[in-house]
């Protein structure tokens, strides 16, 4: 409840004073606004001397409310609140009148701008009169982090946090960590071997004493709030006991189901039903693919427990572990709970594989039309061809290869409107890898633009063209059709204006990076926002690039949007550092802008009538039910209560409450009323 308000009008150099008569604004405030006991103007309020002025005047004049008439509160509200706090005043008695963005910069006529400024200052002094002291909400912090996704983003983030001494839980839904990066052959722009740099990190993670790894596991639910998340993890039935198994490989060697398409090899290679996805997998222990294992199929069909089926027990029999075998057919999904203080989402991306969208390219129809990731597997020494570039149909080494860029990307009509950002670079890399392996082969690249903004990126792509001799054609491919063993690529060269027809042996589509199929559902599970393409949204594109819309949940890697490895690793590090900051203390302070349901003395207790509309509209599940009890323990009434840990301060509940029994601190009814009331329109 303020009574002595100081008004500080900022010139902002001449940004404000050029079109607003700042002296008049201050004078009017002093003359007319109730509660205003001190006014002044200053050249730059946000400068050190400006802040000092504010601090000094708070003390000298005994101010208990401050209005700074300056720029947008988004710029310096924080600054002035901090300064006031230093001067011993509760920072929530500071309000900002936005003279710069709302007046001086948009209303060049000085009298007009001045008059509006006077109004804006009056609105804020009236609001300030109703400001209440608020204290930051202290929330205890579980000093442990959860990293969802074990790709390079997750690995980097987890290691950074673990190295700093905090426990990390990592959850990966595939049998092994590694993600897409483990699938890559070499990486641009240095052409170093992806696995060579990836594997040591994976091993480090697996061996890190601060990291607990859940592979073949998924997030079941996330409850709680920043500092205090309750996580439920579904450990999918692996059918292999991770503690007992040594990863000796005998089981998968004997498995009779050998023709299962390998996901890791992008279906270019095969795997068994009990398998590790790739040799360097972490953990290097197998999982039984229950869809394809014949024993499991039999058990399902007959509706019996797997262990009761005797169709095939080769893996079990081959297991050298004794007396209890490491294979357990009857294993079921298990739900485990973890408590963490912060979450990093690093769930990655998915390559566009909806080939039907690009029927004219024959993807899916023609074996030799493959995607970028498939090419990576072909080029990888650990891949199905052990690094030989052979076309999938007949194993022939392609003499002419065509790369098509922007398949799916930058194509709002068919695919995604955005640029996948990595394709220009990886296509250039692919041409090089190809040329290195097939010296006399010829690579053609159809492109729309070449976007190689990045350190050494432009040089890299020029090298592909100039040194490695790839032929770059600017234009779209209209159709690919089969002519004998060849694939005829019909395209346009828009630079020469001619139609191009290439008889190729193989075609590689630089497919778009898309959000994971279940990104939307996943985001809802975590109450975080996502954009129209289902990529998870950061809270501010520039200033808060790794924070999600839910406090305490951070984003790393391609789940937030297409990125290459360096960018992913950088973001992962950034997210890790945010988490570290959060975990650095036992308690954290939160903005006290939260809702509150009124409480009154008996016999009223609360004017809340318990209709729980607020609970229904709350996006964060922050409204709880509280029983008001009589002395004898009987319930007098059940009313709403806000969990301040979960509340994010949107005010939906307050506007929904018919009896106005809920209000939002910082924007309470008295404050809003005062603002409306102060817009004196007479």
């Amino acid at each position: 409840m303020s009574k002595k308000i100081g008004v500080f009008v900022c010139h902002c150099g001449t940004n404000i004073s050029a079109t607003v008569d700042v002296e008049k604004v201050a004078e009017e405030a002093k003359k007319n606004n109730p509660g205003v006991s001190y006014t002044t103007t200053y050249k730059y309020m946000c400068s050190d001397p400006g802040q000092k002025l504010l601090r000094d005047k708070i003390k000298e004049e005994g101010l208990d409310g401050v209005v700074v008439a300056a720029c947008s509160p988004k710029m310096h509200e924080h600054t002035f609140r901090n300064a006031s706090k230093k001067a011993g005043m509760n920072p929530y008695h500071v309000e900002i009148s936005n003279l710069r963005e709302q007046c001086s910069w948009v209303h060049p006529d000085k009298p007009t701008g001045t008059e509006k400024s006077v109004d804006l200052v009056r609105m804020m002094t009236e609001k300030t009169r109703k400001d209440k002291s608020l204290n930051p909400i202290k929330v205890p912090v579980t000093r442990k982090a959860l990293v969802i996704g074990g790709g390079i983003a997750g690995i980097q983030a987890a290691l950074d946090i673990a190295d700093a001494g905090h426990e990390v839980i990592m959850v990966e839904r595939e049998p092994s960590i590694g993600g897409h990066m483990a699938q890559l052959s070499e990486t641009f722009p240095t052409l170093d071997c992806s696995q060579c740099i990836m594997t040591p990190k994976m091993v480090e993670l697996a061996q890190h004493e601060n990291i607990k790894l859940y592979t073949w596991s998924e997030i079941e639910s996330v409850d709680g709030y920043i500092g205090n998340f309750d996580i439920k993890i579904r450990m999918k039935a692996r059918s292999v006991d991770l503690d007992l198994c040594t990863g000796c490989s005998s089981c998968w060697q004997v498995c009779p189901c050998k023709k299962i398409k390998s996901e890791f090899d992008m279906e270019l290679g095969n795997r068994t039903a009990i398998y590790v996805p790739f040799p360097q997998a972490i953990p290097s222990k197998p999982v039984i693919d229950r869809e394809n294992c014949i024993l499991m199929k039999d058990a399902r069909k007959r509706n019996i427990k797997p262990n009761d089926s005797k169709v095939c027990r080769k893996c079990l029999d081959s297991c050298p572990i004794a007396p209890v075998k490491a294979i357990d057919y009857n294993q079921v999904d298990e739900i485990v709970s973890e408590k963490v203080g912060a979450i990093i989402v690093a769930t990655g991306y998915k390559e566009l594989d909806d080939t039907s969208m690009y029927g004219e390219y024959g993807a899916g129809k023609y074996k030799d039309v493959i995607t970028g990731l498939q090419f990576e597997r072909l080029a990888s020494a650990s891949g199905p061809t052990e690094g030989e570039i052979q076309r999938p149909s007949d194993g022939k080494v392609p003499e002419i290869i065509v790369f098509i860029q922007c398949v799916g990307s930058r194509d709002p009509a068919k695919g995604c409107s955005y640029c996948s950002k990595t394709c220009c670079m990886y296509t250039a890399k692919h041409t090089m890898l190809y040329k290195h392996k097939v010296h006399d082969g010829h690579a053609f690249v159809f492109y729309i633009d070449i976007r190689c903004a990045g350190k050494d990126y432009e040089e890299f792509s020029m090298r592909a063209i100039e040194e490695e001799g790839a032929t770059y054609l600017r234009g779209r491919v209209s159709r690919i059709y089969k002519k004998g063993e060849k694939l005829v690529v019909l395209g346009a060269d828009t630079l020469t204006g001619s139609v191009v027809e290439i008889e190729a042996d193989m075609v590689v589509l630089a497919s778009a990076m898309k959000a994971q199929d279940d990104a939307e559902k996943f985001a809802q599970k975590l109450s975080i926002q996502y954009n129209k393409d289902k990529f998870l949204s950061e809270i501010h594109p520039k200033l808060k690039p790794v924070e999600s819309s839910s406090a305490g949940i951070f984003l790393a890697g391609a789940c937030q949007g297409p990125k290459d490895i360096p960018e992913t690793v950088a973001q992962a590090g950034a997210a890790a550092s945010k988490v570290l900051a959060l975990l650095s203390a036992d308690e954290l302070e939160r903005e006290p802008v939260v809702a509150k349901v009124d409480r009154l003395p008996a016999p009223i207790f609360s004017t809340c009538i318990g209709c729980f509309y607020c609970q229904r509209v709350c996006p964060y599940g922050a409204i709880e039910e509280e029983d008001i009890k009589a002395r004898d323990g009987s319930t007098i009434k059940t009313v709403a209560k806000v969990n301040v840990g979960l509340c994010q301060g949107c005010g939906l509940c307050a506007a929904t409450c018919r009896s106005k029994s809920v209000e939002l601190a910082g924007f309470n009814d008295e404050q809003v009323f005062a603002e409306i009331n102060s817009v004196e329109f007479n």
Binding site: T607, I609, C611, R616, R658, S659
Partner: protein, 281 residues
């Protein structure tokens, strides 16, 4: 039917299923009935049933004085039963705390109440026991249900304003409308709150407009069209027109009618991504 009602009530009281029966009794004049609260089996003869049983007795579920009487059996017509559904959904009553004695109904009031003209709940949609022959609840087309609004919607802006100002100017702020409404159950109505005073308590033009608009808005997506507000208004303001208008908008925009199912989502506490936004720029 009266006999059946009395018999049921007697039974319920005798076997201690309920402590009190909320029903209709003889009124002060033949063309009125009044709420009665029967607590003794020997008093069931005070119950009556006729075309003047317009009251929506569910309003007594919110009143402290009648709540004190113990678990009630409440006599409800089809329209009143819709209130029960809303009250259940809005956590104001627990199903097990109320015994619903449904009555089938061909319409009440003399002349027939407007609400009965487009009735599609001759048989209550929720009850523990039913008195009277079960009647078909025939769907009434949207246009017909809201036909009453046509002549007012057709008015020009100025005519509308003048019509409502004339109506609101009569308002004496006696709050019979909200006190009678079974869904106006707040302990402390917004108009009784003065920090800040969003709605002026004075019965002048300004205060009357904000009160009447807010009262209606607070029933958006909730009002079940029992018309009690309008019936009890001592100065005869056609309040139900406002409620009906809102019900129409809720149904048109959200495809929602309150009090038909206990399982649906309340219109004003949910949303659909594809909700209409034609007037948004």
């Amino acid at each position: 039917m009266i006999e059946e009602l009395r018999k049921k009530a007697e039974e319920l009281l005798k076997n201690d299923t309920v402590k009190v029966v909320f029903g209709y009794g003889e009124g002060s004049v033949p063309e009125r009935t009044r709420p009665v609260f029967i607590t003794k089996p020997e008093d069931v003869n005070k119950l009556t049933w006729n075309k003047y049983c317009v009251y929506n007795l569910t309003t007594y579920l919110k009143r402290q004085e009648t709540r004190k009487l113990g678990k009630p059996a409440i006599i409800v017509k089809g329209c009143d039963a819709r209130t029960i559904i809303v009250l259940l959904k809005e956590c104001q009553i627990k199903r097990e705390d109320v015994y619903i004695l449904g009555v089938t109904c061909d319409g009440v009031g003399d002349p027939l109440a407007t609400k009965c003209e487009s009735c599609d709940v001759h048989t209550p949609r929720i009850y523990d026991d039913l008195v009277g022959e079960k009647k078909e609840n025939k769907e009434v087309p949207f246009e017909e249900r809201y036909a009453e609004l046509d002549e007012y919607e057709k008015l020009g802006e100025k005519e509308k304003w003048e019509f409502w100002q004339k109506q609101f100017s009569k308002c004496i702020k006696c709050y019979a409308c909200s006190n009678m409404c079974p869904l106006c159950f707040c302990d402390r109505c917004i108009v009784e709150k003065n920090q800040p005073q969003w709605i002026d308590s004075s019965a002048h033009a300004r205060g009357n407009l904000s009160w009447n608009v807010t009262r209606a808005y607070h029933l958006a997506g909730r009002c079940i069209n029992c018309e009690e507000c309008q019936r009890v208004c001592p100065v005869d303001i056609p309040l139900n027109l406002l409620n009906k208008k809102l019900a129409k908008e809720a149904e048109k925009n959200f495809d929602y009618r309150p009090g038909y199912s206990v399982d649906d989502e309340l219109a004003m506490s949910t949303y659909k991504e594809e909700d209409s936004q034609e007037f948004f720029k």
